[in-house]
């Protein structure tokens, strides 16, 4: 059970992010909640690649036979970080523009398109 706890944390963080987006009253809060939701995928990926007693997968100074953690998931996570940075930057830029043009940062007041 104890070995699985990173997965429960990942699920919990994912749900926290979802709850934050659903209940959000401020656009910046929405964006940050999305970033928190994304953090769950980091935890999940790193937990999957973890090996007990594993070294960092840099083979310059360790013997190739030594147990290391999985480098593939770390590469995936790095890509994930790049993706997130792009999306969050774009969303925050939209929030700034929305505030300039509409004078509001509440998702409730931004509902121009309904029905």
């Amino acid at each position: 059970m104890l070995a699985h706890y990173p997965y429960f944390i990942a699920a919990w963080v994912f749900l926290c992010g979802l709850y934050g987006i659903v209940r959000s009253r401020h656009l910046v809060h929405t964006v940050i909640s999305l970033a928190i939701l994304q953090t769950s995928t980091y935890i999940l990926l790193l937990a999957i690649g973890f090996r007990k007693g594993g070294y960092a997968p840099i083979f310059a100074d360790i013997h190739p036979g030594v147990v290391t953690v999985d480098p593939v998931v770390q590469a995936l996570m790095l890509t994930d970080v790049v993706v997130e940075a792009t999306v969050v930057a774009l969303l925050l830029a939209m929030v700034v523009k929305a505030y300039e043009k509409g004078g509001t940062t509440s998702p409730d007041d931004l509902r121009y398109m309904r029905g």
Binding site: V22, L90, M94, K97, A98, K101, R111, M113
Partner: protein, 594 residues
């Protein structure tokens, strides 16, 4: 043959160039360069499609070939279905760029690079053989789409639409990533074929959870009910050529993602366990829901957007049925819909250019001075309804030929969405009846997106729409096209052949001739559908002259408060629906497999 990597590399390079030089380069140069790039993609993708019809082959970046059962590198599989969709994406991008020649507001020079990035991402998405690359191209496509959607930053409405779009689709992308992580944990592989072989027919709880996350993520992009809420908001505010790409190809690529992972990773558990029924039910519900919402709309772009929801639902349904019966009809329908819908959006763009409005009540009777646009619009409406001679009708006949009960859903969705478009056409271009009910979304005004004088309509606005409508008719009579689609769709579901391409480099495809198809019964059905759509449109327009008990189309047209209130415009609501939908998909998957 030139390397397939060029399909992604050239647009990305030109996009970087255009983006770097956007302050120096004159507008016409940017236009010309981006059109030429998209045209280059079109030629290259067509060549590869022709090649792939005879010989499907794998391309490995940096020549990292597989060793034994282990796939080391990242590759493209140049299958006919993927190449065909890359061709369609390049065609629509070329036409959209042609439409935006000189006049369209380019958002400070960001428009052209973003369109090319979008094209590169779509090409990579349909060709890649690697699950993680599928996610990367999915995200690249999404980010370019978010930025394109919010391009008109001078008013707040596009920002709201783009924000909802971005939040919903980013949550979906993380669902996809979670699914990928789970699959990697189970199999230790990221190549689609290798994961498929490792899993075989395995469908324990972990695999089903991965299935749920992956399929939900892709269905959000495919706008299946209840994940579709972002789509009308995004379409209503995006510039016209961007709407063409959204409705014509991007939404369908979401479905294509679901189809690709189903046909490779889950090939062993999909048909045997009945998981494909999930697509049947979800597609049918989406088709009916989208059609109802479509008829209730009076904002032309939103009306077309809901029709996209409905028709993509029909395609999802067709995939669910096609797992056993073949996908020829689906691919014909997808191509036909892309062309017809693109044509309709171009026509709506012409109205926006000329009258600075896309609201049905505001445009009542004003379209009489645009006979060509009128013709295009009515052709599009009839095409959506599935009138004879359109590619949609021949696709539909093949889908429902194997499952007659689906005919009801196709009839309902086709007739109602077609009637909604025709109704708007009767009011706008012929000035019949009253102006129609005014509702909140039809009152949202759009700032003009073109900078040129409004009273002139140049050839480059008409040409793309004419090509689209012409293509949707001509392709349905071209036997070689149907045969090509037939072999492509047979290859798409053939997992052993796909794995063989990945592991041994290439496979020769046997040339197949599509089974001959009786055209008389479908022709009659198609004719009846077109007449029904026209009848319903007339009924809705002249309802005030009818006795009170015959006025029910007017109830369908606008007074559906409770269900329209669900389209609330709040990102939190949309994500809540997404969560509910994801849980439902998961519960249904577990229940189906039991």
């Amino acid at each position: 043959m030139p390397s397939p990597a060029l399909l992604v590399a050239i647009p990305l390079t030109v996009a970087a160039l255009l983006s770097g030089l956007r302050r120096l380069l004159p507008r016409r140069c940017a236009d010309l360069l981006s059109i030429l790039t998209a045209l280059g993609n079109l030629v290259l993708a067509s060549l590869w499609t022709l090649h792939a019809l005879h010989r499907t082959q794998a391309y490995w970046f940096g020549n990292w070939y597989p060793r034994g059962s282990m796939v080391l590198g990242i590759g493209f599989v140049m299958g006919p279905a993927g190449c065909g969709l890359a061709t369609l994406a390049a065609l629509l991008t070329t036409l959209a760029l042609l439409y935006s020649w000189r006049d369209l507001d380019s958002g400070g020079g960001h428009y052209h690079p973003l369109m090319l990035i979008f094209l590169a991402a779509m090409s990579g998405f349909v060709l890649t053989a690697d699950l993680f690359n599928l996610f990367v191209f999915f995200e690249l496509m999404s980010v370019a789409a978010f930025a394109l959607c919010g391009l008109k930053t001078r008013e707040p409405a596009p920002l709201a639409g783009a924000f909802n779009f971005a939040v919903t689709n980013t949550v979906a992308a993380f669902l996809v990533l979670t699914g990928i992580a789970l699959l990697y944990a189970v199999t230790g592989a990221l190549n689609l074929a290798q994961i498929g072989q490792e899993l075989g027919g395995r469908h324990d709880r972990l695999v089903l959870a991965a299935f749920t996350f992956l399929i939900t993520g892709f269905l959000v992009k495919a706008a299946a009910f209840p994940f579709h809420f972002w789509l009308p908001d995004a379409h209503a505010v995006a510039p016209t050529p961007v709407c063409v790409l959204f409705s014509g190809i991007m939404v369908q690529l979401g479905l294509f993602g679901a189809m690709r992972v189903s046909a490779t990773i889950f090939h062993g558990s999909l048909a045997p366990t009945g998981l494909h029924d999930l697509f049947v039910v979800s597609g049918a519900v989406t088709a009916v829901w989208g059609a109802m919402m479509c008829f209730a709309e009076h904002h032309l772009k939103r009306l077309l957007a809901f029709s996209t929801v409905s028709h993509t639902g029909l395609m999802t349904l067709a995939f669910g049925l096609g797992v056993r019966n073949g996908l020829t009809g689906l691919f014909l329908y997808l191509t036909g819909h892309a062309l017809v819908k693109a044509g309709l959006f171009f026509a709506a763009g012409i109205l926006l250019h000329r009258f600075r409005s896309v609201s049905e009540p505001a445009l009542h009777g004003r379209g009489k001075i645009l006979p060509w646009t009128c013709m295009l619009w009515f052709l599009g409406g009839l095409g959506l309804a599935g009138a004879p001679a359109f590619l949609l009708a021949s696709g539909e006949a093949r889908i429902t030929g194997a499952a007659p009960w689906a005919e009801t859903v196709f009839l309902l969705a086709g007739v109602v969405t077609g009637a909604a478009v025709l109704r708007a056409g009767l009011r706008i271009f012929l000035g019949l009846g009253d102006a129609g009910p005014v509702d909140r979304s039809s009152q949202v005004d759009e700032l003009p997106e073109t900078t040129d004088a409004a009273h002139t309509i140049h050839w480059h606005l008409y040409l793309p729409a004419c090509i689209c409508m012409g293509g949707a008719v001509v392709l349905s009579f071209w036997a070689a096209f149907t045969n090509g689609v037939f072999s492509a769709s047979r290859g798409f579901l053939d997992f052993p052949a796909y794995a063989h391409v990945v592991y041994s480099g290439a496979i020769l495809l046997p040339q197949r001739i599509a089974p001959s198809f009786s055209h008389t019964a479908p022709l009659l059905q198609a004719l009846v559908r077109a007449l029904l759509a026209l009848g319903l449109a007339f009924w809705a327009v002249v309802h005030l002259r009818l006795p009170r008990w015959l006025r029910w189309p007017s109830h369908l047209e606008g007074s559906m408060r409770p269900i329209r209130a669900l389209q609330s415009g709040h990102p939190g609501d949309y994500v809540a629906w997404l969560t509910v939908g994801c849980a439902t998909v998961g519960a249904a998957a577990f229940w189906l497999v039991r």
